[in-house]
């Protein structure tokens, strides 16, 4: 087989100093389906963006058919016969399928756009590769699977021989997925090369010829699919480079504080993101939730925080039903929340540190005078928290957007921890912040646990979720796939198998462990 694509010593350092790809070597053969697997943040997307010209490598070289290419834009990548099907479709809803397909290379007849020719071209490709599409229907009226097919035809029309598909099955039904796989195999047999990005291992196993695995920005292995098992791939994907020890004593959990019973939630397009999830969290424990992104561990925190609608089931705090209550009421009852994205839900960027600390507590007796806010009490509180949480800033009136990520997070944490909560929801507490701030926040969490708070922690950082949690629920496909009452006995390999859906506990066992 001929080699069609080669990447040598690719390094990518973003402007903010994050090193997303570290010395990547990769090669794909003509006529193969090559899977690229990796956890969230392993660097898959960055690598693909460089192959499609959206980002440029800081170091290294890319070769197509043996010739070095400089992919400075998507147009350049298309020229080099590389095509990409994005996770979010790049289609114009009100245009027809044929119009979308020819966009950018429109056929013309005199000054008119030649619609008939557009339809003919589309049908020709559709027939050649056995990808039937309704050429004259508007894209807004066709199904998701069909839209994906249109994207593939679009890429093929532009001469793509290497086709990158970014997690294509996440939006598809099982039937559509099967159809897609047939289509992709057909394309492979026609001599096309397909790069299939996924973390669904059974799909990789079913579809692909070879698999490359990325971890922490490095390419750790490339194997023939027949030589590896799902377990092998999972072992290569999950695992820490350096095991950081987070110091803490053994937990001493007391009474149940929060009960979640059979809750189901849907996202905006009607897909079930939580499917009959039940769990209970006790005071004095850190209850970890782990999973590959999009499997429900983030959504369960949002459901408890009332940031998304619970379709069925119930959530209760000390046996009081709080399902679908207003966020204000839930906060007043003693549930606080460190949200996943501190810039979207955690802070108001243009506000001062003081006002961000006040946010949500502006009705508290402590801070309100008869008519106006009690400025002095607010200032005192802000100054106290800045000192207590060691926020590096020029003063309480500084705009919060001017601070570093770690210091912004400290302000959020200070606000949420200081209102004497009963339950603390913590979503990605140390994402993108410096080690100093992360350690500080982790120590605070352990301290609060020892004071008897119930803490639920979601983190994509395995060190954090394994090291900090006392007990741990693993989410897969909107359900709890496993529960470990003592994380100190859990290895990361074991965790990986559950996160990737290779292994699964049955409901009875989960219940037995959780309520033992």
């Amino acid at each position: 087989m001929d080699e069609i694509l080669r990447a040598e010593h690719i390094v990518k350092i973003y402007d903010n100093g994050v090193m997303a790809n570290k010395d990547i070597n990769f090669a794909a053969q003509k006529g193969e389906i090559h899977a690229i697997c990796g956890e969230n943040g392993a660097g898959k997307s960055t690598f693909m963006k460089m192959l499609y010209g959206i980002e440029q490598p800081s170091e290294g070289a890319i070769y197509v058919k043996g010739k070095e290419v400089h992919l400075t834009s998507s147009a350049k990548a298309i020229e080099c016969s590389i095509g990409m099907v994005h996770q979010h479709f790049m289609l114009v809803p009100s245009l027809t399928v044929a119009e979308n397909v020819v966009l950018g290379v429109e056929p013309q007849k005199g000054i008119r756009f030649d619609k008939k020719e557009a339809v003919r071209i589309t049908e020709e490709i559709a027939e050649k590769y056995n990808l039937p599409v309704p050429t004259n229907e508007k894209v807004e009226d066709i199904s998701v699977g069909m839209k994906q097919r249109v994207e593939i035809i679009k890429a093929l029309l532009k001469g793509a021989e290497i086709l990158i598909l970014d997690e294509p099955t996440t939006v598809l039904t099982p039937q559509e997925t099967d159809e897609l796989f047939e289509e992709l195999k057909h394309l492979r047999d026609e001599g096309h090369t397909i790069l299939f990005i996924s973390h669904k291992l059974y799909e990789v196993k079913k579809l692909c010829d070879r698999v490359s695995i990325m971890k922490n920005g490095r390419m750790v292995a490339t194997e023939n699919i027949s030589d590896v098992t799902e377990t092998d791939i999972s072992r290569l994907m999950v695992g820490r480079d350096v095991v950081e020890v987070i110091e803490k004593t053994k937990a001493d959990p007391k009474e149940t504080v929060l009960k979640v019973e059979n809750i189901t939630c849907k996202n905006s397009v009607g897909r079930k993101v939580l499917d009959k999830v039940s769990m209970r969290v006790r005071s004095g424990e850190i209850f970890g939730v782990a999973g590959v992104e999009g499997n429900g561990q983030h959504e369960v925190l949002e459901a408890i925080a009332s940031m998304c609608h619970v379709e069925s089931g119930s959530i209760s705090l000390y046996d009081k039903d709080i399902t679908n209550q207003s966020i204000r009421k839930i906060r007043d009852m003693g549930i606080t929340h460190i949200p996943e994205d501190r810039m979207v839900h955690g802070t108001a960027k243009k506000f001062s540190i003081m006002n961000n600390i006040l946010a949500g507590r502006h009705r508290a007796k402590k801070f309100t005078g008869k008519v106006l806010l009690n400025e002095r009490a607010i200032a005192e509180e802000a100054e106290y928290l800045i000192k207590e949480y060691r926020v590096k800033c020029s003063g309480k009136n500084q705009e919060i957007g001017m601070l570093s990520g770690g210091n912004i997070q400290k302000v959020v944490v200070a606000r949420e921890f200081s209102q004497d909560p009963k339950v603390i929801l913590v979503d990605q507490p140390s994402r993108g912040i410096d080690i100093g701030a992360a350690t500080f926040i982790r120590e605070k969490l352990v301290q609060l646990r020892d004071e008897g708070k119930a803490i639920i922690l979601n983190s994509a950082d395995l060190n954090e979720v394994l090291g900090l949690s006392d007990s741990l629920a693993v989410f897969y496909n909107g359900k709890i796939a496993a529960y470990f009452e003592d994380t100190s006995l859990l290895t990361e390999e074991e965790l990986g198998l559950y996160m990737l859906g290779v292994k699964k506990m049955d409901t009875a066992e989960i219940e037995r462990r959780m309520y033992a």
């Binding site: 298309i78 994005h86 809803p93 245009l95 966009l103 008119r112």
Partner: protein, 310 residues
Amino acid sequence: MDNIFDLIFSVPFMFSVLRLTTPILLATLSSVISERAGVGNITMEGTMLISAFVGVVVSAWTGSAWIGFLLAVLAGGATGYLLSYIIFKMEVNEILAGLSINLIGSGGTVFLLYALTGVRGISSSLSSKVMPAVDIPMVKDIPVIGEVVSGQNVVTYLAFISAFVIWFLLFRTKLGLRIRAVGENPDAAKSVGISVFRTKSIALVIAGVLSGMGGAYMSMGYVSWFVKNITAGRGWIGIAAAAMSGQHPILGMLSALLFGIADSVSNTLQTINLPSQLVLMIPYVVTLIAMCLYAWYALKKKQNEKASKA
């Protein structure tokens, strides 16, 4: 009462409907093409004022109505390009950019007029030219229709032809396809190598040309002078008409006609004994009612769609 109906269903009335629709129609088309390109362009009023002013000054200076008209239209196109440069290259919010162009239009023209003529607010001291009226052969001999349709200002014909030209451009040409693609999903357009800035700029220049024609018509056809705020809100009414049509050039022509009729009713009724304040209100009241109806209709449609999806 009979008197009123006699006035309204008369040939002069119908004739004036077309005359009054002209500037509104051009502003409508300008808004339609901007919105299709995904730009919230509010500069119709300001651009029309600039072009109305340029038309008067240049035609007085050169003694040629056509050169005046041409430069007025070019000034409109240039204003459109300026807007796209401010929005996309200098990254200013489109409403703020539009607002500043409108202020330049309203303040700058009065200032320059004073600087040039020493008279405040009106250009009567300039001997500016007017675009010719055109008799259409054959058509002009048809009773009633001939009297209404023939003998209008040449710009009026250009305006109605423009509606069809813009329709053809948007829905039958490559450029139109790209303008619509860029307006709806710029990322999709970009991903297939279409320059979003270029496409949007072209759309805004065309929008400026259309507004420019409307402005030139005001000072070189509708009347024969430039006066402070000569457009009297017609640019804004054009935006309303475009929104009502769902950003469609042909439907936009119909909604512009509706506003033309309202304008014409208001003009006609001034000749009889009604309080002028009430009568002058008519076009604006119609705008309000039309927008309310449109909003209500759009809401209903949305609800129905939701209901049918669930």
